[in-house]
Structures are given as structure tokens and as C-alpha cells.
């Protein structure tokens, strides 16, 4: 697998997190904002660590880990965020940024990435006594590493790129890690081309250890190789987003026009119908352009899972299913971090060591599956392992110790457990590990999935394993929504979460254990009156219910009126002060009026 394909993505995502890191570090000096800021800084460092280790940039992930440790000392009160500490933190963030850039371009930053990479790593054992060299790791499963290294050395030498290899002679115990000492005037582009084309190479890095001249232009990351027969045009994602946004607005305008036309039989009506069709075709094409196979992100995971499993002494059989399922590129990029967290957690906390598994009469090799599939207008992504399962007793004890609100009774469902696991700062790990850190994962995962308009579900059975399922909208730009009226206001509920809608007079409302429930066919569903949730004081009564589906649970949301189904363009927003935290964004309805987009996850 060619990790260089992900370099662009790695760089742009790392820079986002570096910006966030700097912003939150600066906020640390403000005492009131500090607790939130430290969590945010922590998450940013943690994410950079995860991405860097996935890319094989050990030195960067080591630095991020150091930064995490420093932040943890502040969080636990070992250190105070005084001026000295702040200087140290900001310097560390700067160093991290240099390291990210250097690792991604294959050139060390002033100050030296190499110096920071003191970690005992297989690749680092190799001592290269040269200033300009390429460090190469052969594929783990390459059957003839020695012969491959010989050929690569000879090819690079005969092309005038390399002088010699380190080690100079390859012996029978050669493990696939070697370096080519490059000629000072070697053509870096030609070398890259040679190494990138060699499928026996797992990864390589070109290192220039001497001080880099200020004018040195970083090598541009190589564009992905085009697939056969199809011609690709690379377009800036933002351009495409702009087009999609404008088109969304046009579609809404067209909806309004359509409404006006309905009451009028003028010849304009034909033209509007034609335009409607054209717009919808155009919309279709634009959306298709934004769709990419999940493989674009999933392909990075086997390496990461393998490395994590090895570091933790776990034996894991990792499988990916549904690699060709397509989803909006923007969503896929956003969901990459949460998946890193979930997979790492699975290997670290979920899956037992081979010894523990044997003792529990399970196969020593654990199963870990990452699976994607399409379901109605959503994409599901599932991380499933057959590990130890979440220990509810332990989780509850820890939650009580941390002062979190937990159910009184001993009966704790999967959803309660998930809610506790997703509380900020919560972790069931007894010790800090390099692989999944200190539980910054789950709250970040839940927050990110919700921000995308998705939902997360967990099924766990003690001794049998845990399954996380993410439900994601197909695309971010335009969503199908149900328009409902509550207390004189219109709201949009994304169809991702809607199973069906029913008239209330066709079902019975009963009381069960002091709560209202709706009897729908054979099913009894908890009933939530949105009038109550919205604190509506207007007169009126509910006539219908929307059945929201969140994970395994279905809930009936009572509304005054079902207005209809619409395409909406969701604009994310940070709710203004005083807004109920149940809205995921705002949209313009077909009649041009703004409406809030209800996030059913937060209501239920």
C-alpha cells in the first residue's frame, strides 16, 4: 500500500489540528476557559499522534505523546499553567508543527526531527553515517528481502542516484530495513519515482541531515496514480463545495418558485418543471463527484492495526468489508479520526492478550472487523471485535468515583454504558498506553459523529466482544429532511434518523411506569412531546409522531403537524447563548423561511 497517497490528507488535517492546538493553548491562560481548552489541546495532540503513527512518522507521534504528557500534568494538577509552562507548551506545539512538515516532505526541520526520534524503533536502529540518504523499509511479507535490497541498491547506483547502501553487505539475517546513501547531486524526483514504483517497499523517507538552505523548496507530495482508463481532474475540494453550496441554494429557490407556480397555470410553469429536472440532474452529478469509496480512508488502517497489535502483544485478524461503499468525501475525512480511535480502542482495551483469550477458551487470534454498508439514505460503519466486552461494573464504579451521574439500579443497558464511556475524560484503561492514550477518544468520537449529523451505537457482551456502529448521512451538503410544525414553528428532522411517521389518532398513547408510551402495532415506544422539549407555550395539540431510530432504540417524537418532505441545505452552527442544545444546524426551507434542524440524538 502506498501511504504517500494520504500525504495531502495527512498534512491538511494535521494543520487543522495544529491550529486548534495553538488556539486552545492560548486559551489556557484564561482561567475560566482553561478546563475546556486543555481537553481540546489534548484531543488535538492525540489526533496528530494517531495520524502520524498511521503514516509511520514515529518521531512526530513521539513528540505529540510528549506534549500529551505535559498537558496531562497540568490537567491532573501536577503542574500549573504558569508562564514558564506556557512557553514550554507553545514551543512544543511549534516543534510539532515543524516535525509534521518535515516528516511529510521527507526533510528534517531545523532542530532535527531525527534528534527527537530517540524512540527504540526498528527503523531507528540503523545508523546511517551520511548527510543525504533514503531510509527504506521493505514489505513485511516480502519473501526475498535480501535479494530485493541488492537489486534496489544496484538499480539506484547504476542510475547515478546512490553511492552505496547501509549496511553495505546484506546478510542472511537482513530484516528489510536499509538505507541508500545518495549522491550529493542525486535527482530526488527520479529517486522518488524509482522507490514509489517498487511494490516491495513498504515505506521510505528521504533524509537530508545537514542544515536545509532557507530556499529549499519542500518536495511536493506526489499526486495519486490515476486508475486505468479514467481521466481524473484534481479539483480543490473547496471549489467543489462552493458549487454544491450554490446549487443547494438554487435548488431551494427552485422549490419556492415551484410553490408559487402551483397556484398559477401560466406558461412559466412548463419552464419551471424543466428547470426543476435540470437542477436535480446537476445536483446528482455534483453529489456523485463528492462521493469517494471508503477505501480511501480504510486503506490506512491495516498497517495501524498491525502496529498497534504488535506494540500491545495482541494477536489480531483484521478484516475490512464494504471497502467500495461510497460516501461524501467531506464526511469520510471527518470520520477518519473517530475510526482511528475506535480501532485503537478495540485493539488496546477490547481485545485480550492471546494468553487471556486461551484461558477464556477463545481462539488466541482475535477477530476485528471494519465494515461499511449502505442502508436507506445513510451509510453505516461498524467496528466489531470479539474481545472481553465492556465491564459494566468497572465502568459504573469508575463513573461514580469520577462523580458522573449514573443509573442507581444495577441494570445498565448498552446505551447507558455508551453515555458514560463518552463522558469527557472517562477511560476504563487501568494504565496509560501509547496506543490509545488516556480516554480522550470516546467523547471526541461521539462529538464528531453528532456534528456530522450521525449517531453512534454500541453493543457489548461481557466476554464476547463489543460492536460500535456509526450511522452517517450520505452527504453533508444536502440532506433529505422531514419538515414538522411544533408550537407554530417549523423544524427540519434529517431523514437519516427517521424510520417512519404516523398519525397519532391511529395509535394509542398509554402510561407505563409514569412515562408516556406510544403503542404502534406490536411495539411500545417511549413518547417525547416536542412541544414540551421546545417549551412551547402556544396553544395547539399534537396530531402526528415521527419515529426516530437511534441505534437499536426507537422513540416517538410527537409533533403538531407533518408538513412534508424537503431537501435541505444544512448550515452547521454553534448555537447562540440560550439556544437549546438540541439543534445541529439551521436551514432555509422551500418557502424561504429559516428553520432549525433538530438533532434527534440529543432529544432522545
Amino acid at each position: 500500500m502506498e501511504l504517500n497517497r494520504y500525504l495531502d490528507l495527512y498534512l491538511s488535517e494535521s494543520h487543522d489540528h495544529l491550529r486548534l492546538l495553538n488556539k486552545s493553548l492560548l486559551a489556557l491562560e484564561d482561567r475560566a476557559a482553561a478546563p475546556g481548552a486543555i481537553e481540546e489541546a489534548f484531543r488535538a495532540a492525540h489526533t496528530i499522534k494517531g495520524m502520524s503513527s498511521t503514516m509511520g512518522f514515529t518521531s512526530v507521534s513521539d513528540m505529540a505523546h510528549e506534549l500529551e504528557n505535559l498537558l496531562d500534568q497540568i490537567r491532573t494538577g501536577v503542574r500549573t499553567a504558569d508562564a514558564g509552562t506556557m512557553d514550554e507548551l507553545l514551543a512544543a506545539a511549534d516543534a510539532l508543527e515543524h516535525a509534521v512538515n518535515a516528516a511529510a516532505t521527507g526533510t528534517p526541520a531545523p532542530g532535527g526531527v531525527e534528534a527527537a526520534a530517540a524512540a527504540p524503533n526498528a527503523a531507528k536502529r540503523l545508523d546511517v553515517d551520511a548527510d543525504f540518504y533514503a531510509r527504506i523499509s521493505l514489505q513485511e511479507d516480502e519473501p526475498m528481502k535480501l535479494a530485493r535490497a541488492m537489486i534496489l541498491t544496484r538499480t539506484a547506483t547504476s542510475q547515478g542516484l546512490a553511492e552505496r547502501s547501509v549496511p553495505e553487505q546484506f546478510t542472511d539475517d537482513f530484516d528489510g530495513e536499509f538505507a541508500l546513501v545518495l549522491k550529493p547531486d542525486a535527482d530526488e524526483g527520479a529517486l522518488r519515482k524509482l522507490l514509489e514504483a517498487a511494490s516491495e517497499i513498504a515505506s521510505f523517507r528521504i533524509v537530508r541531515a545537514a542544515a536545509v538552505p532557507a530556499t529549499h523548496a519542500p518536495a511536493t507530495p506526489t499526486a495519486p496514480a490515476p486508475a486505468p482508463k479514467v481521466n481524473y481532474v484534481r479539483v480543490d475540494q473547496r471549489r467543489l463545495d462552493e458549487v454544491a453550496d450554490s446549487l443547494g441554494e438554487i435548488a431551494i429557490l427552485q422549490g419556492r418558485l415551484d410553490q408559487v407556480m402551483n397556484s398559477d397555470n401560466s406558461p412559466l410553469s412548463d419552464m419551471v418543471t424543466r428547470m426543476t429536472r435540470l437542477i436535480s440532474e446537476l445536483q446528482h452529478s455534483i453529489l456523485a463527484m463528492r462521493m469517494v469509496p471508503v477505501a480511501d480512508v480504510f486503506d490506512r488502517f491495516p498497517r495501524m492495526v498491525r502496529d498497534a497489535a504488535r506494540a500491545l502483544g495482541k494477536d489480531v485478524d483484521f478484516k475490512i468489508e464494504g471497502n467500495d461503499i461510497e460516501i461524501d468525501r467531506a464526511i469520510l475525512e471527518e470520520v477518519a479520526d473517530p475510526l482511528v480511535h475506535l480501532l485503537r480502542n478495540a485493539v488496546d482495551h477490547g481485545i485480550e492478550t492471546p494468553a487471556e483469550r486461551t484461558k477464556a477458551k477463545k481462539p488466541a487470534k482475535a477477530k476485528l472487523v471494519l465494515r461499511a454498508w449502505r442502508e436507506r439514505s445513510s451509510v453505516r460503519i461498524q467496528v466489531q471485535e470479539d474481545g472481553r466486552g465492556v465491564n459494566a461494573k468497572k465502568v459504573l464504579a469508575k463513573a461514580r468515583a469520577l462523580g458522573l451521574a449514573v443509573p442507581e439500579t444495577g441494570d445498565v443497558g448498552n446505551e447507558d454504558l455508551l453515555r458514560i464511556l463518552c463522558a469527557p475524560g472517562f477511560s476504563t484503561a487501568e494504565q496509560v498506553t501509547d496506543v490509545s492514550g488516556r480516554g480522550v477518544g470516546m467523547d471526541a468520537v461521539a462529538a464528531k459523529i453528532r456534528a456530522l449529523g450521525g449517531a453512534i451505537d454500541m453493543q457489548t457482551r461481557l466476554g464476547h466482544g463489543t460492536t460500535f456502529t456509526l450511522r452517517l448521512p450520505l452527504t453533508l451538503a444536502i440532506a433529505q429532511a422531514l419538515r414538522v410544525r411544533v408550537g407554530g414553528e417549523d423544524y427540519a428532522i434529517p431523514l437519516t434518523h427517521v424510520a417512519e411517521a404516523v398519525e397519532l389518532d391511529s395509535c394509542e398513547i398509554e402510561r407505563h411506569k409514569g412515562r408516556e408510551v406510544l403503542r404502534l402495532r406490536e411495539e411500545v415506544l417511549p413518547l417525547v412531546r416536542l412541544r414540551t422539549v421546545m417549551r412551547s407555550t402556544q396553544n395547539g395539540s399534537e396530531s402526528a409522531a415521527v419515529i426516530a431510530e437511534l441505534g437499536e432504540r426507537r422513540t416517538a417524537l410527537a409533533v403538531d403537524e407533518l408538513v412534508g418532505r424537503e431537501q435541505i441545505l444544512v448550515k452547521q452552527f454553534d448555537g447562540a447563548v440560550g439556544t437549546l442544545p438540541i439543534f445541529s444546524g439551521v436551514t432555509l426551507l422551500a418557502d424561504g423561511r429559516p428553520a432549525l434542524v433538530l438533532d434527534p440524538v440529543s432529544v432522545v
Binding site: 519473501p143 526475498m144 535480501l146 535479494a147 541488492m150 537489486i151 544496484r154 538499480t155 542510475q159 524509482l194 514504483a197 517498487a198 511494490s199
Partner: protein
């Protein structure tokens, strides 16, 4: 002009497969040899752009054939075809002058990758 290839292998199956892979990729298969001796003779006769050479063949093996060819034609571009677990033989062939190698079972993409590298 099409690049010319000489395929040396004692198994018809392997020759057919290699010939398919390479002719699909636009090479012209100008000859086939079943023994090392035949390989050397055909090389002299055809002087192809590329030779694929099986390591184990009757009546002079592939490594000896590489040695014989390279002694006379140091620029000969020979790609070794090896089975799994023959690393020491591959190393010997490389020292004898072979330019690259592929390991059976063949993946067409790996074969073409090696060919590309050998032909530069």
C-alpha cells in the same frame, strides 16, 4: 518498435503465462527456450531487449546461462524467475549479472513492474 523478449522456462505453463502477460503489455515474444543451453544459443541468435530466465532448468541451469550470456553481452537485461524459498539462488543470479527477479506465483503487475525497472 516493439520491445523483444526471449522467454526461458522448462514448463510450458510458465512460458504461456509469461508470454500472455508480456504480449498483453505490448512486448513482442521473439523466442522461447526450454534449457539453459538453448537460452544461450537463442540469445546469441536473437539478441532480444529482455530475457526472462527460470532458475532451475535441465541441461544447464538459469544461473549458468546468465553467466554465459553476460560474459559475452554485459548489457544483457535478464529477469530471473524464481520459486519461493530460492533466495540464495536469486542472490547468486544477481551476482552473475541478472538485473531483477520475480517470484512465482506470478502477479502480472509485479512482472511488469520488474520489466519496467530492468528496461529503465
Amino acid at each position: 518498435m516493439l520491445r523483444t523478449v526471449l522467454i526461458c522456462d522448462d514448463a510450458v505453463f510458465m512460458r504461456t503465462m509469461l508470454s500472455d502477460i508480456l504480449s498483453h503489455a505490448g512486448f513482442s515474444i521473439v523466442g522461447e527456450a526450454q534449457t539453459g543451453k538453448e537460452a544461450v544459443a537463442k540469445y546469441k541468435e536473437l539478441q532480444p531487449d529482455l530475457v526472462t530466465m527460470d532458475i532451475v532448468m535441465p541441461d544447464m541451469g538459469g544461473i549458468e546461462a546468465v553467466r554465459a550470456i553476460c560474459a559475452e553481452y554485459p548489457d544483457a537485461k535478464i529477469l530471473m524467475c524464481s520459486a519461493m524459498g530460492q533466495q540464495s539462488l536469486v542472490v547468486e543470479a544477481i551476482q552473475a549479472g541478472a538485473r531483477d527477479f520475480v517470484v512465482k506465483p506470478f502477479q502480472p503487475s509485479r512482472v511488469l513492474e520488474a520489466v519496467q525497472r530492468v528496461l529503465g
